[in-house]
């Protein structure tokens, strides 16, 4: 079996799946106080924050795939992008459901008031809403059907990640160290894309000018 072969990718996915699900499983165990896992004195807040942070982490992992692939030339890395993106959606959706069901006790009026009046919740809800079309069009069939437009649509992930980190930043009470770290990583990942785009256009420009690279 060679690195990057279909079997190889399948095997790696088999390992990655349980790893990606682990944070969720740990939360479930903690909710039932199994194997020494606990949610602490404020379990709803603990669930909410854990899910939100994992959602952001998976978004960053998803955004890291393309730069990694470019730098290493390992094209098979792209095979994992959809999986990470869908795990980001999974955690962020659960984050929202925790807020809606446990934190707000399904009080729609209170949730609407929050979305309208609390800027950090407005940001979070916008990010989640923008993720919905991406999750729906994540299948192979939809990719094929949308063609070029698929790529355009999925550029929304940049906006989603910015909104998500911003949502985190505005929510913390005082110490912004943790959201700042997320923001720094996101800046790096988006910066890499700008850098790639620039070097690419320079290369194209040179090529058209008849120079050898």
């Amino acid at each position: 079996m060679t690195i990057g072969s279909r079997t190889f990718v399948r095997l790696v996915k088999l390992v990655l799946w349980p790893l990606c699900l682990a944070p969720f499983v740990v939360l479930l165990l903690a909710a039932f106080q199994l194997y020494g896992f606990e949610l602490g004195a404020n379990p709803i807040e603990e669930i909410l924050h854990t899910l939100g942070k994992w959602g952001l982490k998976f978004l960053l992992i998803t955004l890291a795939i393309t730069p990694l692939r470019r730098w290493t030339g390992q094209n098979w890395l792209i095979s994992f992008r959809r999986m990470f993106g869908l795990f980001a959606f999974f955690y962020i959706l659960l984050h929202f459901l925790t807020y809606f069901i446990l934190d707000q006790s399904l009080e729609i009026a209170a949730v609407i008031e929050d979305i309208v009046e609390r800027p950090y919740i407005t940001l979070g809800m916008t990010a989640l809403t923008l993720m919905l079309p991406l999750a729906v069009t994540s299948t192979r069939g939809m990719m094929r059907r949308l063609g070029r437009r698929w790529k355009k649509l999925h550029k929304l992930v940049y906006a989603i990640a910015i909104l998500g980190v911003w949502h985190f930043y505005w929510q913390v009470k005082l110490d912004t160290l943790e959201p700042t770290l997320y923001a720094a990583m996101l800046t790096g990942l988006l910066g890499a894309r700008i850098w790639f785009a620039k070097t690419k256009s320079r290369r194209t420009h040179r090529n058209t000018a008849g120079e050898t690279v």
């Binding site: 909710a31 602490g40 004195a41 404020n42 379990p43 709803i44 807040e45 446990l102 934190d103 707000q104 006790s105 009080e107 008031e113 929050d114 009046e117 609390r118 800027p119 950090y120 505005w170 929510q171 009470k173 005082l174 110490d175």
Partner: protein
């Protein structure tokens, strides 16, 4: 500055407050005596107990008329979910990081506009006073709440012994600054040492308590050992912990949170469901210890202590002076 709007307190009003305190104490004492006639161990019978509690047991506590009848949170909840940034910003940091903290011997510096300033040993401050158990609601500015059985002494009784003068319009408290024992102080996330303050009228209010215990035992380090303030009608951050300085001052003190984020935290910080935090609602609160599916409960004006404290703010616009 907000000085102009502060409720003016004259020497005569402080005396009024003193009579008020004594009346309450008289009533409480009378209640205990009556109970004493009816059965053995009168006071201890109703004081709350907790099997998980640890630490030295405090003797000779009496009940207080100011206690709520609500069920207190567990020892575990109260000692594992703490905002005490001196030990770290996570709620679980204080209970993890307090291990090395030594709170004996402890001195409190009393200074400013008073007749009896000095460096006092904690034992000397506490010695003349009887301890009371006061079960108070605590409402955090982060919209969660607990019910906590403190053991302590009315702040007014302690402050009066230092004989504040007419210039003592505010009281400024400081937490110990000791980055060796308090790892959270090694990062300047707040303006260390932590400073809090009350107007003299607030400080003399019979609800204001200097706590030295929890569940009838010595205060655990993460809850502000060995001595902390408890002002239950204000957001929790006003209840300054591990106090080493009490200063009587003329001007309204600049307090740590108000310095860090003046648009979000004011000097008064009274619990007020009508005035939201700029970023979140203060209308409801999450009761710690309730089940996963228990809805938040409505937050009460002055955390439900309005009958005792609302008069302090008659002349104050609470929307402006949040």
């Amino acid at each position: 500055m907000l000085i102009k709007k502060a409720p003016d307190i004259r020497q005569s009003e402080i005396t009024d407050e003193a009579i008020y305190v004594n009346r309450r104490q008289f009533l409480a004492a009378a209640g205990i005596t009556t109970a004493g006639l009816l059965g053995a161990s009168p006071a201890m019978a109703a004081l709350v107990q907790e099997p998980d509690a640890s630490g030295r047991v405090l003797e000779n506590m009496t009940e207080s008329v100011f206690s709520t009848s609500q069920k207190p949170n567990s020892w575990q909840d109260i000692t594992s979910y703490n905002n005490f940034y001196e030990y770290g910003i996570e709620k679980t940091d204080p209970s993890k990081n307090v291990g090395d903290f030594v709170s004996t011997p402890w001195k409190v510096k009393v200074s400013g506009s008073c007749e009896k300033p000095g460096d006092y040993h904690l034992e000397d401050i506490l010695a003349p006073h009887a301890l009371e158990e006061r079960i108070y609601r605590l409402r955090c500015v982060e919209a969660w709440s607990m019910v906590i059985p403190w053991t302590g002494i009315p702040l007014a009784n302690i402050l009066k012994r230092f004989e504040p003068t007419a210039d003592a319009r505010y009281v400024r408290f400081k937490t110990i600054y000791d980055p060796v024992q308090m790892p959270g102080q090694r990062r300047r996330i707040l303006n260390w040492p932590y400073v809090e303050g009350l107007s003299i009228a607030e400080a003399m209010n019979p609800l204001a308590l200097m706590a030295v215990g929890l569940y009838g035992r010595e205060l655990p380090n993460q809850n502000g050992a060995p001595i902390r303030l408890v002002v239950p009608w204000k957001y929790g951050f006003k209840s300054i912990k591990s106090i080493v300085s009490i200063e009587f001052v003329k001007r309204q003190p600049r307090t740590s949170w108000a310095i860090s984020a003046p648009s979000e935290y004011g000097f008064y910080a009274n619990v007020n469901p009508q005035v939201d935090h700029p970023r979140w609602s203060q209308a409801r609160e999450r009761a710690i210890g309730a089940g996963l599916f228990t809805p938040k409960k409505e937050t009460l004006m002055f955390n439900g202590y309005g009958e005792h404290v609302a008069h302090l703010y008659d002349s104050l616009d609470l929307r402006r002076h949040f």
